[in-house]
């Protein structure tokens, strides 16, 4: 019985149609939950507004790039938004598991890959939406994009890749635990990646040795620096390669592990 679950009959709908069906539901549900949509988008903007002004004194530290602190810190809302997406995507999936909806889906010929990709459809839409909002807010507050219009599009692409990678992490936790509470509890740990990175100051200006070391080994630093380079430096191949490299690695690893967890859960069902 278990082996039959998640397999598609030869004359059934194709993989893309299955992804589309689950994805439509995921997107509709996400757009209907305005609290889940607005709060995670608003919170990083509030922090951006506060920190962008409150830490302006940091620009007087010798060695700080010759840009406003607001321009320097614009990369952070993109990362914070990505972390919120991880939680939203995970909670949505966990709710389906807790409510039994996932079990009912597992009894249909729907393929596991379609179920996972479709469930993350809502997260993908939110990622696109919030990336555009953050970019527009940055521009509206006087931040220029050093890499120009093309750079703005690359920035959006990079931030969406990162957000999708974190959405995969949320899905993985949901599939492993089957609990929305567990997904929420993991949020502080995800936030560590942002706290212990070069989010607030360039790595060479972090005075505390252990912190600088952690930030150097923290992939989140390179994701932030990839986005930041497009805003304050221009076209920096190394920063972009590292940013996209770590972003795509996160997507591959998180979705790969989530697929495995999905298979286990379907068998368990």
């Amino acid at each position: 019985m278990a082996a039959e679950l998640g397999s598609t009959p030869a004359n059934g709908p194709g993989l893309l149609a299955q992804i589309g069906a689950v994805g439509r539901r995921s997107i509709t549900r996400t757009l209907r939950q305005r609290a889940l949509l607005i709060f995670p988008m608003l919170f990083p903007l509030i922090l951006f507004a506060i920190n962008g002004s409150a830490l302006n004194a940091a620009t007087r530290i010798p060695g700080f790039p010759p840009v406003s602190y607001r321009a320097f810190v614009l990369a952070v809302p993109f990362m914070q938004g990505a972390l919120f997406i991880a939680v939203t995507a995970g909670i949505d999936l966990a709710r389906d598991i807790e409510s039994g909806f996932f079990n009912r889906l597992a009894l249909t010929p729907l393929r596991g890959a379609a179920l996972l990709a479709g469930q993350l459809g809502g997260a993908f839409i939110v990622a696109c939406l919030q990336s555009v909002v953050y970019l527009l807010v940055g521009l509206a507050t006087g931040v220029g994009i050093a890499s120009g219009v093309g750079g703005a599009f690359v920035l959006l692409a990079l931030s969406i890749v990162i957000a999708f990678g974190f959405a995969g992490v949320g899905a993985l936790i949901a599939l492993r635990t089957g609990s929305g509470e567990a997904v929420q509890a993991i949020f502080p740990l995800l936030f560590v990646t942002l706290f212990l990175s070069s989010a607030s100051l360039p790595r060479p200006l972090i005075a505390v040795h252990w912190f600088r070391e952690v930030a150097t080994y923290n992939p989140a630093s390179y994701m932030i620096e990839g986005i930041r380079s497009l805003v304050i430096t221009g076209w920096d191949g190394r920063a972009l390669a590292l940013g996209f490299g770590f972003g795509l690695a996160l997507v591959i690893v998180s979705l790969g592990l989530a697929s495995g967890a999905m298979r286990n859960r379907l068998v368990r069902t």
């Binding site: 506060i50 920190n51 004194a57 940091a58 936030f191 706290f195 607030s200 972090i206 005075a207």
Partner: protein
């Protein structure tokens, strides 16, 4: 009075017990302030090199006071979450039916918030001392700092209690958290007030949280400023929030 104390003690005990035995509840309330301390005191310490930054005990102590008071306020906020959860699960309604003196429920939750913060505040303090924080303040000044934390905890706890009892759903979480977060973060948390510029300086100058934060930093540095005013601000806020929480309770009673 006896019935009030009976209800308060029972609710506080349950709140403390639930906090201590539920990792998903206790861990975030401990981990978040520690992250703040590490990220701000560790990652931003170079800011103390900015000209005219003149806080004698150093940047770790400067940030410790913020994190200490923030953890106090968030101890209250997290208790608001717990109350909302109790309403969602139906427990709070049974509590309202069974409590012989319902105002004791508010006091009990506030007591639970305070106990929760004693755990968090102690851990944050130990972490800051391990990180090499300098503490020039004497014992009475440090007691004053703890007093500010207690009052901040009570104010935020009563706020959270009121919101949770008015809305009676876990979805109230954002509404409980957001105003506290904004008020705290619109105070001079990274640099002293004179180093802030623009709109944030204008807001921080009139933000009551600024007075509390500056008083706390002054007490730790053995050069007290605005201490009386800070306690007066918090005492006033506690009175207002107690009335707010009482109205929230009345709303929950009416809803049945």
């Amino acid at each position: 009075m006896k019935r009030f104390a009976y209800v308060a003690r029972a609710v506080a005990w349950r709140s403390i017990h639930n906090t201590l035995v539920t990792p998903s509840v206790i861990v975030p309330s401990i981990v978040f302030p520690l992250f703040f301390l590490a990220a701000f005191a560790g990652g931003l310490s170079k800011i103390s090199h900015v000209p005219h930054f003149d806080y004698r005990p150093g940047y770790t102590a400067f940030q410790f006071v913020f994190v200490f008071l923030q953890s106090a306020a968030f101890g209250g906020v997290f208790t608001g979450f717990a109350i909302a959860r109790d309403f969602d699960s139906g427990f709070a309604r049974r509590l309202l039916l069974s409590a012989p003196r319902r105002s004791g429920i508010i006091a009990g939750y506030a007591g639970g918030a305070l106990a929760r913060w004693f755990v968090t505040g102690s851990i944050v303090t130990i972490a800051a001392l391990i990180a090499g924080m300098d503490v020039p303040g004497n014992a009475s000044e440090l007691v004053g700092l703890v007093g500010l934390g207690i009052m901040a905890n009570v104010v935020a706890g009563l706020w959270g209690c009121g919101v949770a009892m008015f809305l009676r759903t876990e979805q109230a979480g954002a509404l409980i958290q957001m105003p506290v977060f904004v008020v705290i973060f619109l105070a001079p948390i990274y640099v002293p007030l004179p180093l802030l510029t623009g709109w944030i300086h204008s807001i921080a100058k009139v933000n009551p949280a600024t007075v509390v934060l500056e008083a706390g930093r002054g007490l730790l540095a053995a050069s007290p400023v605005h201490v009386g005013l800070a306690f007066a601000v918090l005492a006033g806020a506690a009175v207002v929030m107690a009335a707010w929480a009482r109205r929230g309770l009345a709303s929950a009673e009416r809803a049945g």
